[in-house]
Assembly symmetry: D3
């Protein structure tokens, strides 16, 4: 099976916040941003899979900062890790007020989306692997497994005793070996 | 502070899947569904807060089942618990093929969204409390705190030692007292 | 032929009024509301027919009250009566300002839409009957025939002498037996 | 008060039926057409009133003929009659398949919409009168009053004894003086 | 091959500028107008070709005048000349403020779009010729050839020595025989 | 006045072609692409001007290649040259079929758009200059003046004798010094 670099799957999108994207406070509605993130992430997954990719899950997304009418939103997506037929994609979002703000980009959002690659008949098909390169990519590659296990345990579908990596992480949190560790 | 029942915040939406909502496999795109869920949940949060409510976070969402062109999607949202200025909303999604399928509703999706209530000046404001009534509502009310703590610990922002309820849950999972427990 | 209750065909939709739905006075445009009503009514008709249903006619619709930007519009549709291959659906619309108005629902609109059920080849097909239950449903069931006849007579397509029920209603209006009678 | 000809208020629109305008049978959805008719009619009313005009009512609309994906829809609207602050607009709709059909226009739809002219403060304001010219325009001008009265009587808001013109029409239908008369 | 008059291909569209069509200065976005012009011109080309017509080129378009939220935009398109399988269409755009401006139409825009007629298999097919009638139509018919040649020369695809008509025009500009001549 | 590099104004957009963007041949409609190009170019112009920028003109755009449903369209825009208050932006467009085509990008389109920078009161304001760096950027910077002059001469607004650079280019074309020269 072919192996690709995360950078091979990089997707950049820029969108301008128009009136219909906003709520009554003139901020971008969360749902519209979730939609844009899904499109950027789906294109990234398709760059890995060369097949139609459908959204299988969305991990915790936080909205740290309101995005205002007229601002330019930049989305950047790249594949983190694949698990046979599924792909985890990492998306970062920045906002920029080109008119008032002289253009500083402010990070306002990040998330992990999971996709499944499908054949033309709609059956899951295996995808290429990911070989991480930078330190960040390697860290994300490792924690992808923890996120996957945490999702199953928190959904009551798997026992912690069947997810040894997550169990180890729990024990590090409890023992204080990892005081503040992002997974 | 006023207290409301989850049922006071119930919101039902029905949407028909139109061509532009679908991908090349003629399935509803995940991003469109995330957008609809955000609107249903925001209306529910506003029923509790009587104030503008903006999306603060989206918890794990799973897409279990493809939704096809022409199907009718039913979304149901209600508030689970409030934490001073923030509100957790639970959303369930069913799909129905009224033409071929004689109308059986199939559950395809559930998620928790978190909103913050804002004043007209955009400052967070306190909202009414939630008093759960049914067994399901009571269970969700309790686990809302665990989801909130898990989000902070998994983001590396809080130590497990500052979230005693989550720590207790971790210990139950590890000891096997809770073998399969959904939070 | 199967018979259903109006409540078996109930459809509830909630929509938030966004900027692009409004005119220059910041009120919901009539045409957008007519479009939402058509979707809600079409889903209701499909719940009766279990077939594709296309709009055949729209009866008098009155817009009693402006609906403002940011308000939540609730639509409720249910089938009133079927005539072989056609179905009359009754739609009511309420508006609610959840932020300023503490949530009182104000009724702003009602209408009757008529649909025809079609086979996959696009030919009209017979649909289930309706058995009204509440007093309101029974009244609407009876007057559905009058509305159907009035439409034909006012369009110059049928003589009043071929629509005995409508003729009787005309005579009651003229004799004063029904001074103010809604049909 | 100024008087205008119907032709002074003529509005022509052409729209191409795109995928998202269609249902699962690839026909234009009724609600989309109602929306287009509302926009065409609102522009026509504004040509008479030189003020914002909001939809007050939609009279019986019939959909005689499916409109297919890719066809060109032509809408033509003109003002029929004004009643102080309200305006009745007549809309005709044709469809044309420029690719297969060599361009014959087929009439598929007609309707009357009623608008109210509003000041900037949202209060109803008087509008110019209409002076009909052609035979068709004169007939529509006369029957506009009957349609207005019929709407009130059928809604149970007015007695037939307070609408002498409609009462006379009822009597002509019953006596057979007008066997088939469109109003 | 059949020959048609430009007036046989006339298309009129009216659009109301809604909030989502505007930028942060509340003016119609240029891209939205380009889109509307493309639809009007494509319908006009299809009236000549009775075949699917796809955009092949857009000539210089100038935006002379801002178009404001709530204004009515009138587009008028007609075919100028055909070259075997391609068709040049001329589009004019006016704007009108029916509420404040008492309805004067102000011309704000004109452009030439080029389309290619395609068979169902997507191959270019020959179209009817154009026979211009009015002086303006005859002038545009003649200059259509110059615009076509100028496009090729300015793109570096053809030598001026292979486009004798354009070369003659260049010489008239240089000699001053045509001081100010629009092509 | 500040001077910027073209690369400081680079904007990349990726869009997925959805059903409603396509015509009956399942190709992306030209008007939709013109709209996307306008948004990408406007963001690029705002990166130079730090002010609202409105479309002033669109130069010859050619559509060389159909773009199919489901393909990913990449747009890249950067500023070429500014003339006091106006800015010329160059846009390139590629298409990619990630599913069938293994991801080769095919260039399908390029264009020049001109924008004017406006103050909050809607008056034109001066913008930063551009300092081209690469050979391509330097060539485009020079020919920007020719394009500007050609637009004025071809519109019959300026004499060729008032645009010495364009006159020199005409003479090079005629003399054969520049046989095939793209401007």
């Amino acid at each position: 099976m072919e192996v690709k670099r995360p950078s091979d799957t990089l997707v950049i999108m820029n969108e301008m916040v128009l009136p219909n994207d906003t709520n009554t406070l003139h901020n971008l509605m969360g749902g519209r941003l979730l939609h844009w993130m899904d499109i950027a992430a789906a294109i990234s997954a398709q760059k890995l899979a060369h097949a139609a990719c459908v959204t299988a899950a969305v991990n915790n997304v936080s909205f740290n900062q309101p995005i205002k009418l007229g601002e330019v939103v930049t989305l950047q997506a790249k594949c983190v890790r694949s698990f046979n037929t599924s792909i985890e994609v990492y998306i970062e979002v920045w906002t920029q007020n080109l008119i008032k703000g002289k253009g500083e980009k402010v990070k306002c959002n990040e998330a992990y989306y999971t996709f499944v690659a499908l054949s033309n008949e709609g059956k899951p098909i295996p995808v290429a692997g990911i070989e991480p390169l930078s330190d960040d990519e390697i860290h994300q590659y490792k924690t992808a497994l923890l996120r996957r296990q945490l999702k199953l345990v928190a959904a009551g579908k798997t026992s912690i005793h069947d997810t040894p990596e997550l169990k180890a992480q729990f024990e590090k949190w409890i023992s204080g070996e990892d005081k503040l560790m992002e997974i």
